[in-house]
Structure formats: C-alpha cells, structure tokens
C-alpha cells in the first residue's frame, strides 16, 4: 500500500479534492470543517489526499498526501507518517508542528518518507513548497524564553518561557527526505527545509536529507537534541544554521553545495540581538564532510554573534569563499576561552574564488593561527581523498589510504550510510 515511487503517482491528474481512500488512515476524533480531511474508509491509496488547514486530532498518513497551504498540527495532536509515504507540497504549502503536537515520521532505508514538491519530477525546483517547522517548548535564549517563528503568524510561538522542557519531544525524523522546499512565504522570507524551534532532547533526528532548499537546509533555534547521519545538499543559503542557544550534537554530516549557490556550510550564531544571551549556542559537531560550490557567497564555517561550539573531524573543501569566518568580538572571545574549537579537520581547496581564506571581524584577531595551530590538529590544504565530489552523484566515502581515512575524519567511515535512501537529482 505504500508508495515509494511518488513521482508516478503525482503524475496522475487530480480533478478534485480527493480524500485518500486508503484504509490505514485513522483519526481519533471527527474532523471539523477546517481539519485536514484525512479520515476515510477503506481503499487502495491510489490517489493521494489533499490536505489543508489544521490537524487537531491524532492522525496517521499511510497513503501519499498533498499539502495545500500551511497545514498545522495543533491541539496536542500527533501526526504519524508511515514508511514509504510521499508528502507532496504545493506552492505555498508547509507543514507546521505547533507546540504540544508531534510529528512521527520514521521511514526505513528501503522505504524512506519523502517530503517533496508536488510538481512533476524534472520540473521541480527549490522553493516549490515551504518545508517542515517544529515549534517546541524547550529553551531559547531569547529574552523570556519565547519567540515567534519566522514566516509564520498564527500558531507561531515557540519556547518554554520561564520553565523550558529540556527533554521536549518534537517528534521523529528518521529516513526522511525533504526536497525542493524553501517557498518564500513573505517577501524575502523563505522557509528552511526543516526548522527546529526549541526542540528538546526527546526529539529524534537520524538519516535526514534536505535537498535543494531555497533557504537553509536545517536550522535550529534553541533547544538541544542529537542528530545523526544527516545529508544537506544544494541549500541556497546555509546548509546547517544554529541559533538561539542550540547545544545539541550532530554526528556524521554530509554537506554538498550547489555549484552555483549556497552560503555557509555551518552558520553558528548565539543570538543576533544579544550576542551574550544565555544559554549560549554550543553545538558539538563531529564527522563532517562539506563540499563547497562556486556561488558568490559559498563559504565553509561561520561562527558569529557570540556563538560557541566544537567542530571536530571534519572535511571542508572546494568552497569558493573563506573556509572559516569568526566575526564579532564576543565570538572571538569564545575561541580564546576554548569554548569554540575547530579541531582535527581537513581544509582543502578553499577560497577558490580568489578571496581570503579567513574572515575575522574585528580584523585584529588572528584567526589563521587559531585554525592552523598545532594544538588544533587541523590539516591545511591537503586533499582528503573523497571518492566522488561530483554535484548530483557524490560519494563521500574516503578513498582507501587517503588522508580522510588515515585521520578518521569525515561523514563516512566504512559503510556509505548516505546511499540507498537519498536523492541528488537537481530537479
């Protein structure tokens, strides 16, 4: 009943707002008028359901679904998506998980759950639909611990206020692909592929790919959770953007920028209003392979606005611009204090566009020595030895005997976990 091959399905013309006829869909309570129409009786899932409005009762999507407009899971409801289901977003759509609600999307390597564009395969582009937004009740370092999500208006609050729930569970993303997201909801305000606002340690993120998003790949505002085996490809802005005190752990991260587009691989910021807000952003990132592009803004790592954190055992190569930016005095202080570290990593073929390899503002701070000191253990300007860096068909596996293998760095060591469930097609 599950449809791995959504493209075929979506090629079918739909003539009306059709309810999924798949029998596996259930809801706890009767739908209200503005509740997503997802309940139905038996059927074969032959036509995807078009969903709009709020989902205010526990719901399971076993059949393919089409999102129309901003669909918000609210009223403490849990939206469960079965493995193999394709959720296709129309222009202007997004899936928002409001505070108290959860998304449980656990696919498998063979049957990943795919969030993609509702356009025909080959005609898909960045920004075709919005993306996924989680609004949690863990902390944010905004004053008073609450905030308003960007691009959203109603049901846009996040953060646990004075009593944040550190273990808050936004849900599960496992073997999930999010493609062609980043619709511009309001002028110059695109959604990220997946945005985690104040998600706590109860949240599970493993085997997540965000592909061809028109803003950041994933962005975290506050909270803390552990993410493993994440692939970000073709993000038009930053691949991974960390703000407002996020202090989780990311391991096994593969990033590749579109040759023409993209900004930072990692942009790590404490808060852009109060650079010393607490708790301070402090991600622990290790085992990274990040391949840049030749877009005018393409760059490697940026720590800014008081951000701290550690990046260990990474590969940063082929960025058109600088490989490391550390800006604002408060951020540089973090480096001086040892709470900002970039260690045991390989930097290769960066600043390919002819600019500086490093950016430090204020400029007096010696960023090159910081990155290149012996204590940091970084390998500079040495080819890490990656199997394939071709855009559209990458293979981050280290070549045997190469530096990456020798040093034990990069997203993949041993089995190529990125294979089998990911998609690199540009359209």
């Amino acid at each position: 009943m599950n449809h791995r091959n959504a493209a075929n399905l979506l090629a079918l013309p739909l003539t009306a707002l059709l309810a999924c006829t798949g029998g596996e869909e259930t809801t706890d309570t009767a739908d209200t008028a503005d509740t997503a129409d997802t309940s139905d009786t038996a059927g074969d899932c032959s036509t995807p359901t078009e969903v709009s409005g709020d989902i205010d009762a526990d719901t399971t999507w076993s059949c393919d679904v089409i999102l129309s407009g901003v669909v918000t899971v609210t009223n403490d409801a849990v939206l469960t998506i079965d493995p193999g289901v394709t959720v296709s977003g129309k222009s202007g759509s997004a899936l928002v998980i409001a505070q108290g609600s959860r998304l449980e999307a656990a696919g498998t390597m063979d049957e990943p759950i795919v969030f993609t564009s509702s356009q025909a395969a080959g005609a898909r582009n960045r920004g075709d639909w919005g993306g996924i937004v989680f609004l949690g009740r863990s902390y944010t370092n905004l004053m008073a611990g609450v905030g308003v999500a960007e691009g959203l208006e109603n049901n846009a609050e996040y953060g646990g206020g004075a009593a944040p729930e550190a273990d808050y569970n936004c849900g599960t993303l496992k073997y999930v692909r999010v493609e062609f997201a980043g619709f511009e909801l309001t002028t110059d305000n695109e959604l990220n592929g997946v945005t985690f606002y104040s998600c706590g340690t109860g949240t599970t993120v493993e085997y997540l790919q965000v592909h061809m998003g028109d803003d950041d790949g994933i962005e975290m505002f506050g909270g803390s959770w552990t993410g493993k085996n994440i692939v970000i490809t073709g993000a038009a802005d930053d691949s991974i953007d960390v703000d407002q005190g996020w202090a989780g752990t990311l391991t096994n991260i593969f990033i590749q920028q579109d040759p023409n587009d993209g900004n930072y691989a990692f942009e790590i910021s404490n808060q852009d209003i109060n650079l010393d807000a607490s708790p301070r952003t402090a991600p622990q990132i290790s085992m990274v392979t990040a391949i840049g592009g030749s877009g005018p803004k393409s760059s490697g790592i940026k720590f800014k606005e008081g951000g701290s954190g550690k990046i260990d055992k990474g590969i940063f190569m082929n960025f058109n611009g600088a490989q490391v930016d550390i800006t604002e005095a408060e951020t540089q202080t973090q480096a001086d204090d040892g709470t900002l570290q970039i260690t045991n990593s390989i930097f290769f073929n960066n600043a390919a566009g002819g600019g500086d390899k490093y950016v430090a503002e204020p400029a007096g701070w010696d960023i090159a020595s910081f990155v290149e000191s012996a204590a940091a253990g970084n390998a500079m300007d040495m080819d890490p030895g990656i199997t394939d860096t071709t855009w559209g068909s990458p293979d981050p596996t280290p070549v045997a005997g190469g530096l990456a293998e020798t040093m034990g760095v990069g997203a993949v060591q041993g089995t190529n976990w990125t294979a089998g469930w990911t998609n690199y097609a540009p359209n």
Partner: protein
Amino acid sequence: MGGEAPGGGPSEGAPSGEAPGGEAPAGGEAPAGGEAPAGGEAPAGEEGGFAVEDESAGECDDGFCVEDLTEDEEALKKELAVEKVEVKGPTGTLKGRVLDSTDGTPLIGAKITVEGTKYVTKSDFDGNFELPVPPGTYAVKIWYDAYEGVTVSNVAIAADDTVTLNRELAPIAGMAQTVLVETEINQESAAGKLVERKKSTSTRDFMSRDDINRAGGGSTSAVAQRIVATTVVDGRFLFVRGLGHRYGNTLFDGARVPSPDPNLRTVPLDIFPSMALSAINIQKTFTPDTPADFAGGSTQLESREPPEEFAFSIRARMGLNTATLGREGRVGDHFAGDGFAFGNLGRQLGPSFDTKYPIDLTYQPPGSLDRVWTNADIEKFGESLPSTKTSVRPHTGLPNFSTMASVGNTFKPWGTRLGVFAAAQYGNSQQTLREEIRVFNGVGANDEVLTLNTQTPRVDYRSVRTTFNSAWSTLGLLKWKLSDDHRVSFLGMYTRDADTEIRELRGKSRPTAAEQNVVNTRLRYQMRSVALARLGGRHEFPGAKNLRVDWFGSLAQARLADPLLRDMLFIERTAGSDDYIVDRRESGSFKFFNLVDNSGTGSLDLSLPFKQWGQLDSKVKFGGWAEGKQRNFSTRTFDFQSAQGLEGSIPSGMGDILNPDTIGGGINASSGGTAPFYLQEITRAKDSYTGNQQLYAGYAMLDLPLVRWLRVVGGARFESSNIKVRPYDRFGRPIDEEDNANVKDNDVLPSVSLIFPVGNDKTGDMNVRLVGTKTLARPEFRELAPFLFTDFVGGFDVYGNPSLRTTKIWNADLRWEWFPSANEVVALSAFYKYFDGPIERVIGARATPLQSYRNAKAAHNIGAELELRKNLEFISKAIRDLSIGANFAYIYSRVDFGQIDPASNDPFAVRVAADRPMEGQSPFVVNAYLAYDNDASGTNVRALYNTFGRRIAFVGGQGLPHIYELPIHSVDLTLRQRVYKGLSASVLAYNILNWQRRFVQGADDDITYSARRGTTFVLGLQYDL
C-alpha cells in the same frame, strides 16, 4: 535575514516618516484646556452656541469674555456705557457694524478705538457703532474680548463725511481654540485710494488670508506652525500637546476628513489650501457636541466666508533647499503624469494581471496537480509589469515651485446673499536627505538592558534619498444666506499629491554579508487623494424661543495608491571590489498597494437659549451624529526568482538587470532555460482587508451660570461604534477566523466644566476653570488587520493585532489665565490624563525585527503648561510694533503594561513592561516667537523657535535600549513686505539652524539615524485684487 532593523532604519515609520511619536505639546496654550469651542460650523464659537464656547470659556486671549452679561440688562448697559468725548469743530463720522465672522451674528460691546486719540466707543445690541471724530487720517482699532482685533490703518475721514467700517471678527486663540486671524491690513488705504475706500465694505475675508500670509505660510501646515500648543511634524502633521497621531482627529467645518495614509490617523495639513480657511481651531478639551475620539487635540478647520465684493488673489513661490538644490540626489524612471500626481496610473498593473489564480508558475489549484500557467505565461507576465527598471541614477537637485489662486464674490439674488469662493493650489518640490543608518545589537545578561555592540553594527548604511512631491488641490465654497435666520452652505474639496521616493542605501548589512558592502535600492511612488463634499445649514426660529438648528451631511473619499514599489539588494562579489551583483534571494520585489476609504457623516444639533432663575443667559443643546466608514485595502506582491541552475547567468552590476533578455518563464537550466529571472507572485492570503465602522452618537449639554462667579457647562455624549476588519484573499484561499477583528464600544462620555471669573477692574480679566472629560482612542483598521509590511530587506515586519480594544481616556484640566491687557496673556495650567488600555507599539521576540500593537494596561500623563504673550510697547513706544510670546510645556508620562503573566508566553509581552514614557512623548516642549507688524509700512516679520525634549522614537525590544530622538532646535524666519497696492513679497527661511536630526540608542547615545533636512528659503510674490 537582511538588514536593517528595529529602529533605525530607513524605514518608513521611522526616521524618514518622521517623528513616530508626537511632537510634544507645543504650546502653552491651554494645556489643559478649556472648554473648547469646537470648531466647525455649529459647535464653534458661534454666538448662538454655548456661551462657554465662544464667550466666557472662549479662550480669551485678548481679554476676558463677559458675554454672559448680554442678557443681564443692567450689567449690559453698564458694560456698554462709554464716556463720549465730544468733538469740537468740524466733524466726520466713523460708523459700522461688528459681527462674528463665524456666523455673522452681531458682537455686542465691541470696542472701537481711534488710535492715538481718546475717541472710543462700543458697539450696541445690533453690533452697530457710530463715532464722531475730527477730520483726519486714523488708524482705527476694532476689538472684542476673545476675538482677534482688527486695526484698520489710513482711515481718512473728511468733515461731514461718514466712513463705514463694517468688520467681522473671528474668535481668537485661547484655551481651547486658536484662530489665525489677527489684524487686517486695509489694502486700499495702503494703496492710497482713501476716497474710494471710504465706501468700501468690510473685507473680512482678507483677515485670515492676511494673517496666513504674515505667518509666512503658503501651505496650511506652515500657517499652523504658529498656533500655540501645537507642533507641526514633518512639515505636514499637526500634533497637539505631544500626543501623536493616535490621539487627534481632523474636522473640516465639522465634517470628518479621512486620512489618506493607512498608517496615520492624522490628516496632513498641507492638503488644504490655506486661502480657503478662516481659521484652524484646536480643541483640546472635549465637549459633548463634538466627536470624542481624541485626547490631544481635535483639529478643526473652518472655511472662510466668501468676500463681500469681487476679490482675486494669486501667489507664486520658489523654494530653495540647501540640502537639495544643486546637490546630488537620486532619480528613477519617469512616468507620464508624475508632475501632476497622476503617475500612479502608469504604474498600475495592467488588466492582464487581473487573474483568477496567483501568478506563480508552480501554482496548482485546489484538488488539482495541473499547473495553470505555462512558462510562456510567466515570461509574459514578467515582461508586462508596468516597469522592470530598477536602476537608480544621480540627479542634481532643482528648486521647488508652488502657486495658488483664489477668487470669490458675493451675489444678492432675490434679496438673499450668495457668497462664492474658489481656490486652487499646485506645487512641485524635491528634498534630498543624506542619512546615516545603523542598527545595533548588544551584549548582556538575558534580563538586563544590553550594552550596544558598536564595533560591528548589524547594519551600517549611508543613504541618499530624494523625494519628489507633486501636489494640487481645489476647493469651492457656496454660502447662501437666505435670511438672517436661515443659511445654507456647500463645500467641495479635492486634493491630490504624490511622493516619488528614490532611495539608495550603501554599506554593511551583516546578516547579509559580514565583509562585503551591499547596496539596497528602492523606488516608490505614493499617491494620496482626499475628496470631500459637505452640505450644511443653520436655521434659527425666533418664533420658537430662538431655537437654533444646525445640520450637515458630508461624503468623503480618501485614496492611497502605492503601485510598483521596487526593492533591490546588491552585494559585492568580493569585499572591497566595488563589483556588485544582485543578491538573488533578497531582490526583485515588486509590490502594489491600493487603498480606498469611503465615509459619510450626518450631524444635527439643536440649541435652545433660556434664562435661568437669576435671568442669566443659559442654554441647552442636544443633537445626534451618524458616521459610516468603509475601507478596501488590497495588495499584490511579486518577487523575481532565479531559475534553478542559471544562478551563474545573473548579470553583474546595478543597472536595469531585469529586462526582456533576463526575464524568462522559469525554465531551469536542466530543461534548457537560459533566462535567469522569472516572476512569482507571493501575495499572502491575508494581506488585503476590508474595514467597516459605524458610529452613532447623541448628546445633551447644558450651559448654566449658577451665579455671577460660577458657570457650569456640562453634559454627556453617547457613542456607539462598531468596527470590523476582515482580511480577504483575492484568490479565495482560506483565512483563519481569528484574523477577523471586531471592536464594539458603547460609551457614555461625560464632560463637565466649571468656570470661575475671578478678575476685577484692578487685576484685569482673570479666569479659573476646571474641566473633567472622558474621551476615546479607537484602534485603526490597519492596526487590526493582519496585513504584513516589511519596509526593507530585513527590516521590521509590521503586523496588526485583531484583538486590540478601544482606549478610554479620562482627562482633567485646571487652568488659570490672566489678561492684563489686550493682546497680553499669562496662563498657567495643569492637566492629568489617564489612559485605560493605550495602544502601544511592541516588539516581538524574533530574530528578524517584528512589530505589532498591544493595549498596555494604562498610561498616565501629567503636565503643566505656561504661556506668556506680551507686546513690547511697555518698554518703549518705539517698539510698540514688536511682540513676543513663549510657551513651555512639561509632561510626565508613564506607560504601565502591568504584570506579565509568565504562563501567557506572549512573545510580544517581553520587555515591554519597562518603566518608560509613552512612545513619542517629549518631556517638554518650548515655543517662542518674536513678531514685528507694522501696518503702515505693510511689514510683517516673524521669528519662531521650537524645541522639544528627548523622546522615545522606538521602544526597545529583546533587551535593546529604547531609541531616542534628540532635541532639534529650529528657527524659522518669515518676512513679508507690501510692495505696491495689492502686491506683496515674502521671504521665508525655514529650519535656519539646520539642526541635525538624530536618533540615538544606548548609554553612549550611539547614533542609529541622522540627517539634515537643510534650510529652505522661499521667495514669494502675491497679488490681491
């Protein structure tokens, strides 16, 4: 994430838009106010109206008003008794009649003095006077308590001749009412046509015009600058007592004038041709016979009386601004009609854009996965925009020009009097500003006010911004006096103006790029128009105990067209290269806004005079008011996207990069596309809205002198208002119920005044009054609508809040005033205002700046005002033409947001509780002037000074300190000289000190915005026939 931010920016609301808050109370006049004669037709200082309005309460600047004596025969006789000075030898006679200019009723007991002689008399019950004088040429002064006096110079009287001087006097500035008219220059005498002049009738219409000229104004706003207790903000808006846009209203002959700007409630004064006004009244305390939705002041414009005889005036002016003229500004593309405020027509979307579906290549209708647009459609739309030119070019500033003409006459068909008047004005101006714009972030603990990070500001821009304004207006008046008891009048007005704003910001926007410079450009055109028609009448019924009936009905339409707003952002390829390329993700935004407001007002007032037990003149007044308003605000928003895979083909440079070669249909590279840009509509579902308001009101009030030394004026108004705002989507996409706003109010609004005339013959006139009122401030449609506006890349997102409620305001005023002699006043007042639920701007907790509105719990304003006016004759006769005046106001203001419920988790509740004054409220305001008026030589000189105390321009959010506007010291000088006959010349210099306007933030007053407007010199010529 873009660039600028809270506070500072180029944003409309702020610096550029000028004075977010209020300019503070300027003047000393009546802070607290008096009873306020309302302005318009009926309520205003009519004779028949409440005595408290035009008389005792009536703001007597020149003297105390004792009008309640009119019905007290004995007292009146005594009052009118004049010691006649017998004339020996040849005798001529000066005679005439003195009337109230607002309604033509006789002024009883007006003083007529032949200056420099002892010949003096007073007008009788019918306003008539007759005074025998020796032959000669005199200056004759006609004056009356609470009215602006007139001095007619060069009155030549021959033996056995009779010279008639009929004059109408206007109520003068006072506690609640300010009138421009001061004195009259006898034009014909100046011309030396003494003999002809003898027979001439009054030229009351010149009074206002004359004073308007003296004040140096061509525009009404420039005139208003002279009014005490007010400040003109941005050269356009009149603020009273430091309370901003929210706390005022504007009435023209009693009819409400809608504001053409959805963000501002105040009507810009410069849309009214000053030649058509007899007075601008500022009512500062509420009386039940006027709309109650104000707290600072109600601006009430009064149309003039048409001239008795044919009269014609024409004026031309040229202005030179030192920040603009000959200096480099910016210009964009030109459209037909730009010079006459019709440029919006060419900028509107063509009919092909009137689509059923959003113009979005990927749009699939509900229930379908079929696209409704082809690539060819999208390309065609992109190329059919009214213009895709985005380049901003240098431009050398030119002088400003304006002209104004008026014509009027009175006809006498069938024994009635039909006065006709028409005026028109037209002007073109330009202003270039060079601005410094910064947005700071800071450091500190989460719960403390942050220390600014000034080393690396988030945004650090230098701007060049040129605004071209074209404006014109026409006005026609018919005033038909059918008999002494019945008058009917018609007023029609249309005014239209447009700003073309070209802005270029250069510098750092760190959220966009840390190293590279960026350039942010904007081309904007905003047309505003107001049409107003009013038909009204006044009827007195002597047979029905002198019942008076006043009525009017009015229709108004306000429009705002803001089409083709174009924003671009360019970024250096590498830092310092000066080689710019468009930032594809934050560029190419094209917006279209359109607003139409239709409103109608109907009003009926009945007043009945009677005598109380002690035979003192009393009055009862009651009436009703109905008002309806309807708004439609619609928007379309488009953004040029870049086709995937063609990012590398985006052209370099800041020219017109959006052109037929680069605009395509969104075919990506892998499908063979070559054009990098394509159009996409991103109109939000709830950006358009309709607004409706119905307002019904009824009132009753009583004017009752209890005893000679205590008069009570009181009553109440009931207002029932229902405001509805409904967002809608032209494409039928669903909208949440919670976005609808409904604000219903039913309020009883009392007003009580106690007046104690405490003066005596020795002290001169003296008065104490105590007033208590309740008034309202209702939320505006825009504040209730979920419409989102982002002023510039990364700037404030401004949303309305559908859950706002109406602010209730309790006002108390105590005033002591003393009139040592005519034209001299000392007044001291104190006021207290309690605001229940004042609407304040609040900043949301979000990384990119977000602003909305909330009702605070309360606010308190406590103030004191002092006013002095003095003629310098007491120093020396030689400087008797000099007069000085000054007023000072101090206001202590605090907003209370109450305890924040931590459980509410309202992201807007954060940090608004800080102890602070209301946004925009200055702690003090000072006005001073020095005037020289020499009627004999036809010379008028005025020097005006204004300053205000540092005030919050933007409340801080997220721990950032508030942004304050620093005081500006401004001096204006106006000089007017009669040249020959009806020809006069004027030289005006505005903003002579050219003080820098600065907004600062943080402990060290770091500058977030600065600009100098430059000094403007205006040369004018006027000819009056």
